[in-house]
């Protein structure tokens, strides 16, 4: 019963948050992607691309090709309504996964005896979510526009997971430890991915482009970093509001019904609510 509640509540939140995100990004981030893809077809093979064949991505295997060229090999949504639809689906699924994790953290706090209001708790968790899933990984691996060369995909994904996990552990240390050293623990966790270092290529990510295209793409790249920052902020503000509301409406009653079924203290509930 609790599990079903979590799923349905997360789905409802995901449709709202994912749709708002789709609207926001359609206005400012997607035009940048589309503009960058126009230049992508002018790309010549960069030295960096040749040096990293393990990336095995179609963007690095040819002298000059477009996304339309890839379509011959693999399905991809047609530009326009189909592409917007699939981006919406992906956004909703992404928001669904984030809403589930937000509810899990909120539910765990409740089980440990937190007496914060749902909206307040959701605001804290959403702030931690933004740090964990956007800010901390993006600080090391900036938002990329199509056409940029980068280090091998697997190594970047691995570093992304490391940065997110470290930020999550930092937030967890601050929330759960009562020791004054928790700030030091959080700082140490946050430092881990940057001590390891984000994987970057030695050459210019835009080396495959010449003159005018390179200048334009560099500008688009900077714009895209800001566009994604605003998307992520609006996403997590929406997540905090919608998540807090849905948790209060559907999840909290179900959790409390079980938690209060017995007077026995819940394992881990060291800090009883005042």
């Amino acid at each position: 019963m609790i599990f079903q509640r979590l799923i349905w509540a997360a789905l409802a939140v995901a449709v709202v948050v994912g749709s708002v995100q789709s609207g926001v990004q359609q206005l400012q981030a997607v035009p940048i992607i589309l503009a960058a893809e126009v230049y992508e077809s002018q790309k010549v093979e960069a030295p960096a691309a040749a040096a990293a064949p393990a990336a095995a991505h179609t963007h690095t295997d040819g002298a000059a090709h477009t996304h339309a060229g890839e379509a011959a090999k693999e399905w991809e949504p047609a530009d326009g309504a189909e592409r917007i639809f699939w981006t919406w689906v992906a956004n909703v699924l992404h928001a669904f996964s984030m809403a589930l994790l937000v509810f899990v953290v909120m539910g765990f706090s409740l089980a440990r005896g937190s007496n914060l209001r749902s909206l307040t708790l959701a605001a804290w968790v959403a702030a931690a979510g933004w740090l964990t899933f956007h800010f901390w990984p993006s600080l090391g691996l900036h938002a990329e526009i199509p056409g940029m060369d980068a280090a091998r995909l697997g190594s970047r994904q691995g570093w992304w997971v490391l940065a997110a996990a470290s930020a999550a552990l930092a937030c967890g240390s601050l929330a759960m430890l009562r020791n004054p050293w928790r700030w030091a623990a959080a700082a140490a966790w946050l430092a881990v991915p940057y001590v390891v270092g984000a994987p970057h290529i030695a050459t210019d990510p835009l080396a495959g482009f010449s003159g005018e295209a390179q200048t334009a793409l560099r500008q688009l790249g900077t714009q895209f970093i800001w566009a994604t920052t605003w998307v992520s902020l609006s996403f997590w503000v929406c997540m905090g509001l919608a998540g807090g509301w849905a948790f209060q409406r559907w999840v909290r009653p179900a959790l409390l019904a079980v938690l209060q079924r017995s007077e026995a203290p819940v394992a881990g509930a060291v800090q009883a609510p005042q």
Binding site: E74, W160, V266
Partner: protein, 63 residues
């Protein structure tokens, strides 16, 4: 392992309250990570092409 305590406190339920809350939370967390992997990281070309713009906008390593 906690069977005796459970039975002593709430004979009508198989799980004690902590377990009854933590298990679905754990299940939801696993599902959340699986969906996140599929949307943001799966290297299948289908998943990549469908979620391409979403991956770029949510700043996931994409290409």
């Amino acid at each position: 392992m906690t069977e005796p305590t459970t039975l002593a406190h709430s004979p009508s339920h198989a799980l004690n309250p902590a377990q009854a809350v933590l298990r679905p939370l754990l299940g939801a967390a696993v599902l959340g990570f699986v969906v996140l992997y599929g949307v943001a990281f799966a290297e299948s070309p289908l998943a990549h092409n469908a979620a391409h713009d979403a991956r770029h906008v949510t700043v996931k390593p994409c290409h």
